[in-house]
Amino acid sequence: MTTEQQFETVDMMLNMGPQHPATHGVFRMVLTLDGERVVDVRPHIGYLHRGSERLCETESYGQVITLFDRLDYVANINNELAFVRSAERLMDIEVPERAMYIRVILAELNRIASHLLFIGTYAIDLGAMTPIMYCFRERERIQNLFEHVTGARMMHNYLRIGGVKEDVPSDFVARVRHLLSEVREGVEESDKLLTFNEVFLSRTQGVGVIDAATAISCGLTGPSLRGSGVPYDVRKDDPYEIYPYLTFKIPTGENGDCWDRYYLRVLECYESLSMIEQCLDQLEDGLIMAAGRRIARPPAGEVYVHSENPRGDIGVFLVSDGSDKPYRVKVRPPSFCNLVALRPMMKGAYVADAVAILGSLDIVLGEVDR
């Protein structure tokens, strides 16, 4: 690469975002370019800062759930689950089994929906316009089911401290089973179209490589970390809810490039499908809410609970002073922590790769800025 410079060149600063189609929201990065090569990148965040953590301190525990819906706004149930579990841990509540199954079924469905959104938008980032239509078609079906169950397509507010809001409709199991077969077909369809496409491979393989040690030191989690060959998954390493009773696989990559990060998400879709099937087989009648007071007043104390979101390890640090409002809520958002790896990945890449790399981290700005 080091050819002798015949004439003096000047690096160009290129401001990408916050208004840019490939930054997935209002993320902004300032690229220093040498021609088409990225010399340096400086991420700027905060354009979607809504002060969610502060807001949590002014709302009662039941209302905080709605704020968690709006963090990672494409994986709402997973976020709700993270908060609800932290409060339950603090209050030492035993959640009925049926409620836990319902939560996990919905969380895994939401994981599929989130990954589908990733696959579609990633294809768009790389210039393929068809996969997003297939992915959105399937995501729409999942959202229809959510609407049927929770009454809302995205901001569900369905989980409760100690259970779920209400029992699922009577046709829930049959509908989910039907949905699973449809979604499986849809995922396969976009998988066939995109995954082994010649151009797609050449755009993603060997791009944005990050080795396991750097990935760990940057704090990467989720599929982005597993792409580098580290089989870390909270569902396996710190099981919660009813995940211990399910058989599932943790697909792990080897190269840590964009293609690995992409493909692991595709594989995870299939894994989630099989997990939901197992949950449906094991789902039994029972209570959906733990007995206890309607208004949550956790005893004074603090707790840290983490769980596996589609984007990685989400952690909730909850401090209670014994009142009906949290004293402090701190979220460890996976998207925000994954962004740390942006710089080591991007150095020396092309402008087009910068888009591919950012896309492969699958950030959601609602969670980055909070």
Binding site: M129, T130, R235, K249, V351, D353
Partner: protein, 397 residues
């Protein structure tokens, strides 16, 4: 030069008809692309305006014309507004020499192919100017990309056109078509056709070569600062150029108005046949757009210089040898297929299999987390095993 008023009026009428025809073609293409992409992507495409959404492009055009024409304060105003014309005028002028049927042509030039090549190159200047005069970083990146891409891919497209010109022994469009009376050139030099189509895709900036205006990277490239009617002109030129690739392919490789069943067609039917062939090729271009992601600029350049240009020279030399040594024409077909097989085989060996193997390995090597029995179930199993243990004792007693 002695030009009578009548001739001037004749030419003016011809140009007026041609201009409207070209616009009509562009409008039908916009509709066709949107409808086709819709069907390929599992959605209906435009349906609201007119029957089958046929009037949708007109509604779009009206909307664009009604928009405010904004130019950045720091742009070079004159160049900024001249650039769209520099892109559009060449793509319109080259239509002067395209025959749609044997005698349906504005001006049949003896050097028609040369005329086409000379004028189609001009639009690069417009794109670079648009990028430069916008005084925007995205636009300048796009302008640079356009210059690199279009100049590189001009070579293979010219070489493949040259092969046809050599085989036909003429640069005249009508004579080229008539030389294909027996066998269309796609059968004789399929490699030249493939090169022409790929380089043509790059030349008009269609996916997977839509690099210079890549929406997700440089946000429209040279066009990023344009709005309203000026943007519409770029848009029009893009579709006209796309159709030119299809039309040129139909004339040079698919035999134009020649067809294998019997005598020559009457003029309207012949024109229809040419259009059908041209639209067919254009549909292939749209289909590619629905299938492929975008390449990266360095991959595009290395693909052009390492594959397309050597291959186009190879087919050029093969055609020259065939003409010089008077080989059987079918030897060219065989040579074409042999040469085409080389990159295909190399590419398959190099990329696809490792990726499939990698995917299989990821699926196989995944860590399996085995389910534990639920506490209640585990307790039941324990008591069950206790009773079965106890049973034989009881039977024995």
């Amino acid at each position: 030069m002695n030009v009578t008023l009548g001739e001037v009026i004749n030419i003016a009428i011809a140009l007026f008809v041609l201009f409207n025809l070209v616009t009509l073609v562009a409008i039908t293409l916009v509709w066709l692309e949107r409808k086709l992409l819709g069907r390929l992507q599992g959605r209906p495409g435009p349906t609201r305006v007119g029957p089958f959404g046929l009037l949708q492009p007109i509604a779009d055009a009206l909307k664009l014309l009604a928009k405010e024409d904004i130019s950045p304060g720091s742009s070079q105003k004159v160049l900024f507004f001249v650039a769209p014309l520099l892109v559009f005028v060449p793509s319109f002028v080259i239509w002067l020499t395209f025959p749609v049927a044997e005698n349906l042509v504005v001006r049949n030039l003896g050097l028609g192919l040369f005329f086409f090549v000379a004028f189609s190159v001009l639009s690069i200047v417009g794109l670079v100017l648009a990028g430069w005069s916008s005084n925007s970083k995205y636009a300048i990146l796009g302008g640079f990309r356009a210059a690199a891409q279009l100049v590189s891919y001009e070579i293979p497209i010219i070489m493949s056109i040259l092969v046809v010109a050599m085989l036909a022994g003429t640069l005249d469009f009508v004579e080229v078509v008539e030389a294909q009376e027996a066998v269309p050139y796609i059968a004789m030099v399929p490699l030249a056709f493939v090169i022409f189509l790929i380089a043509g895709l790059a030349e008009v900036g269609r996916t997977p070569f839509d690099i210079y205006f890549a929406e997700s990277e440089v946000v429209g490239g040279p066009f990023v600062e344009y709005s309203g009617a000026h943007w519409a002109i770029f848009f029009l030129a893009e579709y006209v150029n796309t159709f030119v690739v299809g039309l040129l392919g139909a004339l040079l490789f698919l035999g134009g108005w020649m067809w294998p069943f019997g005598p020559d067609l009457p003029t309207p039917a012949a024109a229809g046949l040419v259009l059908v062939k041209a639209y067919f090729l254009t549909v292939i271009i749209f289909w590619v757009r629905a299938t492929y992601p975008r390449m990266r600029i360095d991959q595009l350049m290395s693909f052009g210089w390492k594959w397309l240009i050597p291959l186009s020279f190879a087919v050029f030399v093969a055609a020259a040898c065939q003409l010089f040594y008077k080989w059987n024409p079918w030897t060219l077909t065989i040579i074409s297929f042999v040469i085409m097989a080389v990159p295909v085989v190399i590419q398959i060996r190099r990329q696809r299999n490792p990726a499939l193997a990698l995917a299989a390995r990821y699926a196989a090597n995944a860590i399996v987390v085995q389910a534990r029995p639920k506490p209640a179930v585990a307790a039941a199993m324990e008591s069950e095993s206790a009773t079965t243990d106890a049973a034989p004792e009881g039977a024995g007693a």
